[in-house]
């Protein structure tokens, strides 16, 4: 079976259009980041979070009024997977588990005839939150640098730069999408947690994986077709690797969709970010990473002429 036979698509001819699309997506993301912002989870904000499982379904509004009475008017309340499971979160800090106990007490007095169990409880002190945040930034930063260095070492320097720009592009678009899509439907919970950071790093890995395969082919073709122009060469390489790109990305996409649908509440934000990431990652290998190399070369050529 073949999805694509031999193709001769002139990918790079359309690159200006795609620059525009990328810029539009990134702008939309940044606008959303500025207006709506990101939804930081308890890992980074600190505070107390409980997931309460009731025996029967409850109204969110009821839980909210219970929390208002208990003195947690600022608490965030939403469903966690099903209508019986309610997540209650406050950024208030207290000694030991006092906040958790107060929340529990508030729920117990309001829902006397609907017994509940607490299936998850997290309490994060303010210092830990700040530290986790710093570690997350460091992790993303170091992996970007390490990957850039590796690619620059294995290929030419400008390829490393291309890969790095592509990675920034993917991360930016995905963060933007996470900001836009968070809370659009009640079951889509896209808060920035440790799992989400893991998703971003995986995205970085997968995206560069795709880029490297294309660069590898360019490197190989450069040795064979020494006199071929760079654009033609890259186009040829892109066409040759196209069917692999589609199949691999398609497989990963399929796996991620399964994870998103069946993987449970904990994995849903993770797989959402990766679904977006695998799409931009595949696309950016062509129109950002490879295109950067082309633009760089053309600028150099223009300079030489001038």
């Amino acid at each position: 079976m073949r999805v694509f036979g031999k193709t001769t698509i002139d990918f790079l001819a359309y690159r200006k259009i795609f620059y525009f699309i990328s810029a539009a997506l990134i702008t939309a993301g940044i606008v959303s980041l500025v207006i709506k912002g990101l939804h930081f989870g308890i890992d980074f904000l600190g505070g107390t979070e409980l997931v309460v499982e009731f025996t029967r379904e409850v109204e969110i509004g009821e839980v909210r009024s219970a929390m208002d009475k208990a003195g947690f008017g600022d608490a965030e309340i939403k469903t966690f997977g099903s209508e019986r499971d309610i997540l209650i979160r406050t950024v208030k800090q207290g000694v030991g588990t006092t906040i958790g106990d107060q929340i529990r007490g508030g729920v117990a007095t309001h829902f006397k005839d609907n017994p509940f169990t607490v299936i998850k409880e997290d309490k994060i002190g303010p210092k830990i939150g700040a530290e986790l945040q710093r570690d997350a930034y460091l992790a993303v930063f170091f992996s970007l640098v390490a990957i850039c260095l590796y690619v620059a070492f294995r290929f030419k320097f400008i390829y490393g730069v291309g890969a790095l720009i592509a990675l920034f592009h993917d991360v930016l678009i995905t963060i933007g999408m996470v900001s836009i899509f968070d809370g659009l439907t009640p079951n889509l919970n896209l808060e920035i947690s440790q799992n989400m950071i893991a998703a971003f790093l995986t995205l970085v890995g997968l995206s560069v994986n795709d880029t490297v395969v294309i660069f590898d082919r360019i490197r190989e073709n450069q040795k064979i077709f020494r006199s071929m122009g760079l654009i033609e060469l890259i186009n040829k390489s892109l066409n040759e690797t196209l069917s692999r790109t589609i199949i691999t990305s398609g497989t990963i996409f399929m796996v991620l969709v399964v994870l998103f649908v069946f993987g449970g509440e904990v994995n849903s934000g993770f797989s959402f970010a990766l679904v977006v990431g695998i799409i931009t990652g595949t696309y950016s290998s062509i129109y950002i990473a490879s295109a950067t190399v082309v633009e760089w070369n053309e600028r150099k050529a223009r300079k030489k002429l001038a």
Binding site: V118, G125, I128, A146, Q194, I197, V208, E220, T251, V255
Partner: protein, 604 residues
Amino acid sequence: MRKYRFRIIVVAASVLLSIWFLLPTYQDYELSSQKKALTGADSIQFVEQHEKEIREFRKKRIKLGLDLQGGMRVVLEVNVVSLIEKLAKNKDDAFAAIIKEVRQQVARSDESPVVLFRSECERRGVRLSRYYLNLRDTDDDVFRFLEDEAKKAVDRGMQIVRNRVDQYGVSEPSIQKLGGTRIIVELPGVSNEREVQDLVGKTALLEFRLLKEPEVAARVMEGIDKYLAAKDSTNTPKDTSDITPEVEKTPEQFAKEHPFFAIAGFTQQGVASVVEENKDKVRRLLDRPDIQRLIPSDMEFLWSAKGQLGQDGKKYFTLYPAKKTAELEGGVITNARATIDPNYNQPIVTMEMNTEGSREWSRITGANINKRIAIVLDQSVFSAPVVRSKITGGHSQIEGMENLEEGKLLEIVLKAGALPAPVDIIEQRSVGPSLGEDSIRKGLLSAGLATLLTILFMVIYYHTGGVVADFAVVFCMLFILGVLAYFGGTLTLPGIAGIILTLAIAVDANVLIYERIREEQETGKTLRAAIDEGYSKAFSAILDSNVTTFITGLILFQFGSGPVQGFALTLIIGVAASMFSAIYITRIFFDIMTDKKQSLVNFG
């Protein structure tokens, strides 16, 4: 076949090794599902019968993260500022102001509190020796002293928590030091936060308790033994003409007639010695209300905190018959130190008490010469020295430690009474067992489904090539789990996600190779040549792309925590395993097939 022999052996060995590593995980699963089917007394009996196997398999199985099996994780931080405050002498208003300032700085800064304290003192032109050690000491001396005390406080905090967790009987607890001042406690299966409050919130209680006289202890234990034997014989009719002499009794007979002494050996010193595997059994026995009635109301059995190796290489715990009320509490201790006695070259621990304590101590020791006084921290006995003489002046010396290590432990314990380590809970996470089970189900469902879809797709798209790649995927999964079991790794929900992703990466390697082979075939090469070219040309792309994934995995492992580390771990293992199976193993299949039956090989 001969020329493939070596490669086949390598693969077979890897597969067998993986299965071998995974066997305990499977056996553990079998045992626990058998146990689940039983209830109440049956299940306790089952546990007793299989105690050893359960322990054995538990140790070697793949551990489940707290997010999968439910449990609690607590991060404690020793409050070094409080410690500095407590240690100070001649506190004045200036000191209070410094402490207040440092406390605010600590909340914002990553710098060690001791360093912050020193610089704050220097900023205000206050010499550290004004509050610590002697006036002649330099700032550096005091600084080193405070650093040392802070370090010891963490050790003390860890010892206190470990001691309580051990008593609690949590299976597979994990207690680790993190950085300079933190302690991570992970308790699988515990989800009640009130229990944790008990575990870490309470101040440590150090007591000196008299042991009961050996005769009294012997009488009580005999009573228990007889009661149990009598109760046993009502169930199973016993041969009344018991003429076999004691010495010739088989262990079975002895166990029948002396059910208690068979598992708790009575020694001359008036204590009982219990082998590790029977500890829980004896503990449960002593907790029974009918047995409790046989123990005098002023007496209580306490366990030794640590086991000792017996001559048979097994670990033995000591059961001490102690008085229920303490003679003295540890708050009176002002200092303790483990050293080597220069005269006898033996490890000793010296202990100082305050005036009030010294007075009491001399009365207690004077009245109980040649009796044993147990040093008890939170209901565990750390040492039970014999009183040699009346101790006046509050200066005591404890001997009889096996080595300096044991002495150091006792020093930590004694100081826990003198200077309880002030700890704060800075992070606490708990996952209920039902959520954990739900997560496992969803994780396995999605992993299974993803695998199935991928396998189907590969066969449809690449025909025999796909079948071979699918074999590689299965091997890859086996290797990941095997390596995880070997390193005692922990499987978390993100970890399962990592395995699923690895699956995709493993498939990608084969896609790269097969696409290359197809290309080569199109240029008119023979099958064999196309396979050769395909593998060698695809290799550099596979290597480069895997290395980058590997790098992100390593960084994630370094900076992530808990479940996220689980993800990084499976990703790292997965990258290595997938390269081995997708390149090395599949090649053997194709080489053999092209040799034997070329018509079989088909890349779709």
